[in-house]
Every structure is written in C-alpha cells, then in structure tokens.
C-alpha cells in the first residue's frame, strides 16, 4: 500500500500528541484510519463522538459494539461521511479522504443497513447494478456482475434477478442488500446491524454465510451491532463503545473476553464470557493430549496389553484406529483394569454406570472433532452424548489425541494466560 506524504505527516502528529502511547504503532496494513475524529451537534453539551483514533486493518471485520446511543453508528457513518465530522481526519487506503467529494468516496464503500433500504421500484438485478452503473461500467459487465453477486449470496439470478424487493423474504432482502453493497467491488464495507431484523434461525445462517463470503473476498469491514454474541462471532477485532463515542477497548474477541479493560466492558460482555471463549478456541492450533490407542487389526494379545497400559495410564477406554490411523471405535477398559465401568452410549465413552459393558467391548465412534471444531463443540459433544471424552482428528481424519474434561479445563486456562500476556492493543481507555 502506497502512502502519500500527507499520511506520513498526519501519522507523525498522532504519535507526538498521543502521550498514552496506546494507539499502537504505524500500521501500513490499516485500510481505514480514523484520526482524532470528532462529531458535535450544535446545541448538545457532549460530543456524539469525541477524539476517536482507530486503525481498521485491511481484510478484517472490525465490529463496533456498544449500548444504543453510544455513538457506534455515528462513527460508522463518519467513515463514508454520511455524517460530516466536526474535526479530525479520515484516511482510506493511505489516502486522506476527509475533503474529497463525498459521492466519489461513497462509491468506493459498500453500505448495508438493518432495514435493507432496497429500492422498491427497481428489480433485484437493477438494485445490485446501481453502483456499477454510476461507475460507468458497460452494460454487459454490469449484468455479469449482478448475476455473479446473486450467486455469491446464494440466490439464483434467473429466478431472483427480475423480482422486486417486496417479493422476497426478509432474509433474501438482506442477502440482496449485501450483494448490492458489493456491487462496485469496494474494498471497504460498512454494515449497520445487517442481520438485526432477521429471526434468530435465519440470522445464524446468514452470519455463517457472510463469514464464508468474507473468507473468500477479504474485504475490510466495519460491522455495527449491539449484540455482543454477534460481535464475538463476526469480529476479527471488536471495538467496545461507551458513552460519547469513546472506545473503551479495542481488541480481538479472545482477549476481550479473557481480559476486559474495565468494569464497563466487563458489564457489557455480561456473564458467560468463559463459555463464549470456548467457541472462539479452535482445536486446530491446540496441543491435544495423547491417548492410549490400539490398531484395529491387532490380535487379542496386543489388545490385552493395550488395555493394561490404558488402565495404568488411568484411561477408561482405548481408542481403536484403522489402517489410516482414523479413529473407529472405543474399546472399554472396564472392571478388569479400573473400578468404574462404562455404559453403552454409542457416541464416545461414557461415565460410570452400574451395569457397564464387559471389558474389551467395542463402542462405535461416530463423530470425531476436526480442526475447525472449537472447544465449545467438543464440550457440547461430551455433554450431549454423555461422554467423558472426545477424539480429535486432523483435516484428513487422522488421530491427533483425545480431549476429556480435565484437558478442556487446562486448555482454557492456558489460553486465557496467553491472551492476557498478548494484550497490548488497548485504545482510548
């Protein structure tokens, strides 16, 4: 990213005046940089947004979250200057855009809002074509773009392209809203509670789908919501707003949950922070404890010795692997080695019951946890299948280890410590 001289100059200003030193270093990957941004309305005592300095990194989703009236939407609208700032600078991709003609700036920034805001008198395809047409694309390219975007958001262009907005469901309208915002292929998108008006079930589907699209497109996205769960789910980084457009904490979701900056942030996050963190911790990068295993084809004697080893290791079960080292079943250690037996829960070894299966009995294993699963999934699986442990596999389905309750607990504690140690990016505290 090339940065014109003005940016360097203004960046320097930030550093000399920012005595707290918390705004972080010069980050060339910042797509949007807000600098001492201020919005005051005449006749109002406090500022709607006060001296806000924030870097939004390229290709990431940054969520603005906070109670209503905290200035998060105002801040978002300052970026495309739907609201003109009273003072301060806005940089986009290294360019100072505070003074550039607003309509030019806005055509480079996608925009979706909760109410959809689709043009009711235009077809879906025409809605999506709005910005491309303003940018002067030729007709064929505009049509191609509309079709492409409809497919991207999961709507068949041949069916939905010619429909009018009111002929669509709320969820479909919101998809079209996202497609329209992507129309001119902007690098930056602003989204104001885009899924706020959707029922919870469809909402989750839309969120997942949007994350899939974002993984592909890597846009720089500012996402406004008042829902901390949505923020944690969608955000690469989260800015928690307090009254008067102040950012109380600007951090990754993990760090935010593990180490809230102050009591306001902690209050806003509410209870259950630890459980939320579980769902943020993917198994992918975690060290998974090893476990007693035995080959499927092993003869009776090898099995016996494996069971004996497992008993010594304190394991209730031995994991059976096939020739490709993929887990296929649990083998009960049972009373022979341990006091507590096991019952016949099909999907993983279960906790002690009075009448367990005989030692050496095989229990089929249905769903091992892959790298994309989270600690939350693992725990959920244990609780819902009444199992005391789950097998963890790599992307190819091969054995990595086994997680039990104790392992999950100790992993969570280690993760929390990591997060606290790495918490260096507090802003505007």
């Amino acid at each position: 990213m090339t940065q014109p001289d003005t940016t360097h100059r203004t960046t320097d200003v930030t550093h000399t005046t920012d005595t707290t030193g918390t705004t972080g270093t010069v980050d060339d990957s910042a797509m949007i940089r807000l600098e001492k941004l201020c919005k005051r309305y005449p006749g109002q005592a406090g500022a709607a947004v006060e001296e806000l300095t924030l870097d939004i990194p390229a290709g990431q989703i940054v969520v603005f979250v906070g109670p209503s009236g905290c200035g998060k939407t105002t801040t978002m609208k300052l970026i495309n200057r739907l609201i003109e700032p009273t003072s301060g600078r806005i940089h986009l991709g290294g360019q100072d855009v505070t003074e550039m003609p607003a309509h030019q700036l806005r055509r480079r920034i996608g925009y979706t809002i909760q109410q959809g805001g689709l043009f009711p008198h235009r077809t879906v395809a025409d809605n999506i074509a709005t910005v491309p047409r303003m940018l002067g694309w030729d007709k064929a390219r505009v049509t191609r773009r509309a079709d492409e975007l409809l497919e991207l958001v999961g709507l068949d262009p041949d069916i939905y392209g010619r429909r009018y907005p009111k002929q669509l469901s709320g969820g479909q309208q919101q998809r079209v809203g996202v497609a329209r915002a992507l129309g001119g292929d902007p690098q930056v998108m602003l989204m104001d509670e885009p899924f706020g008006a959707i029922d919870p079930l469809n909402r989750e589907a839309l969120q997942n789908e949007f994350l899939r699209i974002q993984a592909e497109l890597r846009k720089t996205i500012v996402f406004v919501t008042h829902d901390i769960d949505e923020a944690v789910k969608m955000g690469d980084k989260i800015a928690i707003f307090g009254d008067g457009g102040k950012v109380l904490q600007y951090d990754t979701p993990e760090r935010l949950l593990a180490d809230p900056a102050d009591s306001h942030v902690a209050d806003f996050i509410g209870s259950g922070a630890a459980v939320r963190r579980l769902s943020l911790t993917r198994l992918e990068g975690l060290p998974v404890p090893d476990w007693s295993v035995v080959e499927q084809r092993a003869d009776a004697q090898t099995r016996e010795s494996a069971l004996a080893r497992a008993a010594r290791a304190g394991h209730d079960y031995v994991l059976v692997l096939d020739g490709e080292r993929r887990p296929t079943a649990w083998l009960t250690v049972g009373a022979a080695g341990r006091q507590d037996g096991a019952d016949g829960a099909a999907d993983g070894p279960s906790d002690a019951r009075t009448q367990g299966p005989a030692p050496g009995e095989e229990l089929p294993l249905i769903t091992p946890m892959g790298p994309r699963h989270s600690l939350f999934d693992a725990l959920d699986h244990m609780l819902s299948a009444n199992a005391s442990a789950v097998a963890v596999v790599d992307g190819d389905g091969r054995f990595r280890g086994v997680l039990d309750m104790d392992a999950v607990r100790s992993l969570m504690n280690t993760e929390a410590r990591h997060s606290r140690d790495g918490s260096d990016a507090l802003q505007e505290v």
Binding site: L82, Q104, P120, H121, V131, M134
Partner: protein, 215 residues
C-alpha cells in the same frame, strides 16, 4: 320540445363548450403542477417553509370561487386569463400536499442507502424519490382535476370558456322553456368529463406505477 330534441339542435355548442372546459381545466392543472411540484421539492424537507407554503395553498382554497374569479378581473381582465389563474390557485393545494406527502413518505432507509451509494441530490430526486412519490402525486392530480372540473363552471361569470356558459345562460333565462335544458346540458357535460378524467387517471396510474410498488 323534449330535452333530446333540444340537444339534437344545439349539440355542437355543447361539444364545443365541453372541449373548452376540458382544455381550461388542463391548463389550470398544468400550471399548478409546474408551480406546485418544484415548490414541494424545495420545501418538503424543511419545517417552517413547508408549513407556510401548504398553509397558503389551503387558504387559497377557502376563498369563495365567485369572489376569487371576480377579484382576478382587476389585474387580468375578462376571459381566459382570470379563469386559468383562478383554477391554478385552487389546484395548488391538492397538488402540493400530495407531492409533499409522497416525497416525505419515501422510506428514509431507501434515501440513506441511495446517498451512501454515492448518488447526488438531483440524481436521487430523479431516480429514487420522484418515482417512489409518483403514485401519491398522481392521486393529488386526480383530486385536483375533479375539483377544477366543478369550479371551472364559474369561469363563465368572468367571460371565461367552458360548460359554465350553458349553465349561466340557463340561469339568465330562468322561466323560459329551455332554461332547464341548458342547465342540465352544462351539468351533465361536467359529470361526463369527470367520469372520463377519472378513467383516464386510473389508466395512467396502472401504466405508470412502478411494478415493484403495486399492491
């Protein structure tokens, strides 16, 4: 002589007066649109100016029509001039009020999106706001037309054109055998025109309402 025999003798006069009446109404309506729509566009977002303009238009409508036509003789003389101007003034309220209501009823989320996509003020007005306000504006024109058709009869009092002349002749010759027939001809012509215009507006409404807006 029956009414029909009477009509058979002077139907060309009735036809001429009907056409003149329609032209008079359309002239008044056209002027009201040319004045009222731009004024609405300029004031619909404001508070006090909008209230002032609509208030003034409402006041005009309360002036008794005989008085208004008469008052206009002083500056404009007799004939077409005062007739057209008076009708224009009467049409202003329905035209402007519906234009303002139509423009203000456009969903703010829609205009905000348009602005956020980089549309300028005029482009937004031409491609988003006016098309969306059109059905309401059209209803205003329809109401104004009905109003002007009946008030237009007074134009005859200032030597203006139209079916009012038949009615006025009838009144002037009250007591003579054909006075009632003349009055009936004038009134029936106006009713007929009203029905025709209403059908016309229904057709225009059907043809020009954007498809996505229909019910």
């Amino acid at each position: 002589m029956t009414f029909l025999e009477f009509l058979a003798r002077n139907w060309t006069d009735v036809l001429d007066a009907t056409v003149a009446h329609a032209v008079l109404v359309l002239q008044g309506l056209g002027l009201a649109v040319l004045i009222g729509v731009p004024v609405s566009v300029l004031t619909y977002r404001t508070g006090a100016p909008r209230a002032a303009v609509l208030g003034a238009a409402g006041l005009l409508l309360t002036i008794p029509s005989y008085a208004l036509f008469g008052l206009l003789i002083t500056p404009l003389g007799l004939g077409n001039g005062p007739s057209i101007v008076a009708l224009t003034l009467y049409a202003l309220l329905p035209v402007m009020r519906n234009a303002v209501v139509g423009l203000r009823e456009v969903d703010p989320a829609v205009t905000e999106s348009a602005r956020a996509m980089g549309m300028g003020r005029l482009q937004m007005l031409a491609t988003i706001e006016l098309p969306l306000a059109w059905p309401v504006l059209l209803t205003g024109l329809r109401v104004a037309t009905q109003l002007l058709l009946s008030i237009g009869a007074i134009a005859a009092a200032v030597n203006g054109p139209g079916l009012g002349n038949l009615i006025l002749d009838g009144l002037a010759t009250a007591g003579t055998p054909f006075a009632v027939y003349l009055t009936i001809e004038g009134a029936a012509g106006i009713v007929l025109l009203a029905v025709l215009f209403d059908l016309l507006f229904a057709a225009v409404n059907r043809l020009t309402t954007p498809r996505g807006l229909g019910t």
